[in-house]
Amino acid sequence: MNKFIFSDCTSVDAALSQMTGEAVVKAGGVDVLDRMKNGVIEPAKLVNITNIPSLRGIHETETGVRLGALVTLAELGDHPLLQSQYTVLADAAGHAATPQIRNAATLGGNLMQKVHCWYYRSADFACLRKGHDMCFAYDGLNQYHAIFDTNVCPSVAPSSTAVALSALNASVELTSAKGKRLVPVREFYIKPDDKHPTMETVIAPDELLTAVLIPKPAAGTRSAYQKYGEKSSYDWAIADAGVVLEMQGDVCRKAAIVLGAASPTPRLAVDAAALLVGKPITEETARAAGLAAMQGATPLSMNGYKVQLFPVAIYRTILLAAGKMDRDPSAAG
């Protein structure tokens, strides 16, 4: 790990004033320190934001709920209000990584973490997403990679909470010296394109993610998230799904289905969700939605199995959200 300046800030203003040049924000540090230890980044300065009190707390508001950027994954997973009304988020946070990591990892950091492609995470590979010429995954080992939007950088969206928040249609609050702005999570992530392959989100270098706002769910809303890996303990998703259903009696009025490990950004499966609307949730409709979500998939040389796996993750999570199936023992975490 390189030498760096550690700038410990206790207010948002102080942090913003430190975010110059080569500075990198450090929240829980799980992701940023990992990349530093592996020599992937060598920042000259770390701006530590964990001691900023105003970035903490889960607050219920008139319009929904406001989550400070420093709320930990453990706090999200354990919160009774989130568990009952925003279940998809409590599930996503509460089943991510390991208990130790969940205690340190923050919501802001989780949303801002970099992709987990093994070429990206190794200093040995100078790849497109790190500002170089080529993607090593295409002709290399791509069993954990994307099956949609694979044309530039087929890495997958790493954040479980982003899947949940996208399904809940939440927004992030971005603060800079100039002021604040709100961006829907669904517009926050940028699909890698040839011109700007290193851009992952719309956040500007002088902006801090300060909060997440989730609108109050309509009556009858039920939701769930499940992640499937190769192991049960702290494995990354090979398939996952966040599902939000607005139910009226037995009938589904509105639905959102979001996939994480399918593409470089959380993927809203619009057609799949549409299949559920106006119908009761049954295994049959859930399975149909799962299959529909795979329309247009373009798997790589080693990850065709994901096209089989995702429909299963989706149908089982729809049934879990609808209360028609228990949490799946095959799911990880």
Partner: protein
């Protein structure tokens, strides 16, 4: 250790036999033999008269064979235990390697000038000889160079020692290496092709280590294929298949597994004039001293190796190795002690692994199950080393009319393999035991019954009986794939085989002090398997003192030489020497105090912690009070291992593993709720620790079977998962309910009659047992590891193999 138990004696015993003193006087004793509750009886053995009395079966003993708390548990959990990485010496420097960034290259130059100038750097070294790789039979095939040829990414090239770990990290980055890159190959299948890039320009062999590894020497080599090494037994193999009523055949493919011990390889080397002291994370203080002495041409009196605590070793930690030699050189150059611990990446890349395997096994049998033929052809890559043979189980588990095995090592540009917990056996058993399961189904004979017919081992017969009576086995539905829903339950079993290896290089000293304290000393190291505790139990049994009160001093070559811990030899080899020493020291002690009580040593005995007179010449006194009568501060006796009492009575040992699986046929996940492991290890000296070994072996086997895999990028030859996050290893949620049933088995071979467990434990059989349970659950065979969802879905015919485009 050799991977086969052949008719030939193992080399350790042969060597010792040659050196053994003139025949000692012997007498006949009756020893317990067999399994209590099943086959226990007594048999006569001729043993030297100097041996202590026959040890009773465990149920009649006070300390040996009783569940005993780990002797050093409180030191470990309280952080007082000092591991190699905890050693802190005055003026100590921190060493760091610079490793090759390419998989195959000539090194043209290494420029260390900037590193040398970096403030805080005290010595820099360019490596001129790399240990561990295979070496050309004819070195002239390569142009001589100051720099060894890079055969794998991660091969050490240079090293620095600096005043802090951070400075060392920074300084190695300043070393400039220029490579002339050569074509490379990292996967075994490509390396077997005739047009593949060659790892070596001619035939090459790898030296083995004390822990095994290294393949056969002198076998033919074509391209990268080093082999075949052929073994034939019994009659003609073609005739065997002609005589068969049924034949099963299958191809089984397993992956490279890395050792991933919690503590990485590393040493602290302190080179002083006249004495090189080395703290090492090693499985053999003796073999480390040996290699240092040889490498640096030092007399053994000038090399001392210390391993008081060790954070795990599965066969890859013998000898000085590159870290040891380099740390010593850096220390000599800098005139200061140097600590060099590998990081996790280096641990994955450069210090050993379990080779992969691609086997085709063919078995012929009569209708009654009698095996007429076993044929095995295997290919495996040990990287730029050898030792990928896996015919051990096929050769040694069952009786057959004819056997033909052909093992091939395939060179690839990967780190050299090293012995890994039962070398070759998990791979071999994965194929053999699934093939036997397949045979049982074809013959419509129950799998346990079939094995009763073809397995002559008397202890495994008992173990199968234990399995037959278990609730888990009784819950098995013999009809494969019977469950209706997407998640299907299955139960399967498989057997393990391992061998009795003894290291005659095992000795100990026992001391009785005048204050009544007792001490045992041996250079042996405790890998975490618990030999310290067992030594304490032996003294406890002889003197009637609780084990916690015995001082156990081990892990230092200043003590009498101990066995290297490879081949599951430690307990079987060392404990008889310790008991002999304890017995002889006791005799000396009784002779020492007898005059004070007006009697002779023959009249005295120690019973339940008291010295008693057989003739009633004195009232019983506590051992401690009696010790006060000694005229010298301490008496001591040293003993060495004597040969086993009767090698003609040897059997293999092993066990039977039963696994319950839930196969999710839609997600491809295999969940394992329960495992029953029934194992033998001679006399269990400390059941608590034996069970720990079996738990550990079973978990490691599950982890290997379901998750672990070294991934080398085919286009660059670099490992893409050199950590413990993407190199997937079982975590707490992946561990099933483990039930261990120990089968006590007396074999009448030594004064403690202990055997080994580390390698037979779990890991050999569990992969095949999972495979057999998978078949029982689904009706499909899982012939590949690791059994990740993509492979499971492929085995179920839902996606093409390799996860290729659906």
């Amino acid at each position: 250790m050799a991977t086969h138990l052949d008719t030939a004696l193992d080399p350790l015993v042969q060597a010792a036999a040659a050196a053994a003193p003139a025949k000692p006087e012997k007498h006949t004793v009756m020893m317990p033999i067999g399994v209590p509750g099943y086959t226990l009886r007594t048999e006569a053995r001729e043993v030297p008269v100097s041996e202590p009395p026959v040890l009773a079966v465990n149920s009649e003993l006070e300390f040996i064979g009783k569940p005993t708390e780990r002797w050093d548990a409180h030191y470990k959990v309280s952080g007082q235990a000092k591991y190699t990485a905890d050693i802190q010496l005055p003026g100590m420097l921190y060493g760091r390697f610079l490793n090759a960034s390419v998989p195959h290259a000539k090194v043209l130059s290494v420029d260390v000038s900037a590193a040398e100038k970096y403030p805080g750097v005290k010595s820099v070294l360019v490596i001129e000889r790399v240990l561990g790789n295979a070496e050309l039979r004819d070195p002239k095939l390569e142009t001589p160079s100051r720099y060894p040829i890079v055969r794998y990414a991660g091969q050490p090239i240079a090293a620095v020692a600096a005043t802090s770990a951070h400075i060392a990290d920074e300084a190695v980055k300043l070393i400039m290496v220029t490579y002339e890159e050569m074509p490379f190959v990292t996967d075994q299948l490509s390396a077997r092709k005739t047009d593949s890039p060659q790892v070596y320009p001619g035939a090459a062999d790898q030296a083995g280590s004390a822990g095994g590894g290294g393949g056969p020497h002198g076998v033919p080599q074509t391209g990268n294929v080093h082999g075949p090494s052929i073994n034939k037994k019994g009659g003609d193999i073609e005739q065997g298949f002609k005589d068969a009523d049924v034949i099963v055949e299958g191809r089984y493919v397993t992956q490279v597994q890395t050792h991933s011990a919690l503590e990485t390889h590393g040493v602290v080397a302190d080179w002083k004039p006249g004495m090189l002291t080395v703290w090492a994370s090693t499985q053999g203080t003796g073999s480390v001293r040996e290699e240092f002495a040889q490498y640096f041409k030092l007399p053994k009196t000038q090399v001392r190796v210390i391993t008081e605590y060790m954070g795990g070793g599965f066969g890859a930690k013998f000898g000085a190795g590159n870290p040891g030699v380099v740390a010593a050189q850096l220390s000599q150059k800098a005139g200061a002690p140097v600590r060099l611990m590998l990081d996790r990446k280096e641990e994955h890349l450069s210090v050993g692994n379990r080779p992969d395997a691609d086997q085709i096994i063919r078995i012929g049998a009569k209708k009654d199950g009698t095996l007429t033929a076993i044929q095995l052809e295997s290919f495996g890559t040990a990287g730029c080393g050898t030792g990928a043979g896996c015919a051990g189980p096929a050769t040694n588990m069952y009786k057959y009319a004819a056997l033909h095995t052909a093992e091939n090592d395939v060179f690839t540009n990967g780190g050299p393999a090293a012995a890994f917990r039962a070398p070759g056996h998990p791979q071999g058993a994965f194929a053999l035991e699934q093939a036997i399961d397949e045979l049982a189904i074809k013959l419509a004979i129950e799998p346990l019954d079939l094995r009763d017919r073809i397995d002559e081992n008397s202890v495994r017969r008992v173990e199968r009986q234990v399995v037959r009576e278990s609730a888990l086995w009784k819950s098995r539905n013999p009809v494969a794939g019977a469950d209706s829903g997407p998640v299907k339950r299955g139960v399967g079993m498989a057997q393990s085989v391992w061998y009795r290896f003894i290291s005659m290089n095992s000795s100990a000293e026992v001391l009785v002090h005048r204050d009544g304290s007792l001490e045992v000393r041996s250079a042996v190291q405790d890998l975490g398997t618990g030999i310290k505790t067992v030594l304490a139990q032996i003294l406890a049994e002889e003197y009637g003192v609780p084990p916690a009160k015995i001082a156990v001093r081990i892990g230092d070559t200043n003590y009498p030489v101990g066995p290297d811990s490879g081949g599951s030899v430690t307990t079987a080899s060392l404990t008889p020497a310790v008991r002999d020493a304890a017995w002889q020291a006791k005799k000396k002690f009784l002779a020492e105090i007898a005059p004070a009580y007006g009697t002779t040593a023959d009249d005295l005995q120690i019973v339940k912690g008291e010295v008693r007179s057989k003739s009633g010449k004195m009232q019983p006194v506590s051992f401690q009070r009696a010790a006060g009568k000694m005229k010298v501060d301490s008496v001591s006796a040293q003993a060495r291992r004597i040969p086993d009492y009767d090698r003609s009575k040897y059997e293999t040992y092993g066990g039977v593993s039963v696994v319950e699986v839930n196969v999710d046929t839609e997600t491809g996940r295999i969940l394992i709720p329960r495992v029953l492991a029934v194992h033998d290890c001679g006399r269990p000296m400390n059941p608590t620790q034996v069970i720990s070994q079996i738990n550990g072996g079973t978990i490691q086997g599950i982890s290997y079977t379901l998750y672990e895999q070294r991934h080398l990028d085919p286009n660059t030859g670099l490992m893409v998962n050199p950590n413990l996050e993407q190199y997937k290893i079982a975590g707490s949620r992946d561990i099933p309910e483990l039930q261990v049933h120990l089968v006590e088995s007396y074999i009448g071979q030594s004064s403690t009659d202990a055997s080994g467990i580390g390698e037979a434990a779990g890991i050999v059989a569990v992969g095949a047992a999972i495979g057999n349970a998978f078949f029982n659950a689904t009706g499909y065979r899982m012939r590949r590891m690791p059994m990740v969802p993509s492979e499971v879905l492929a085995a179920l015919g839902k996606v093409p193999q390799g996860g290729l485009k659906a």
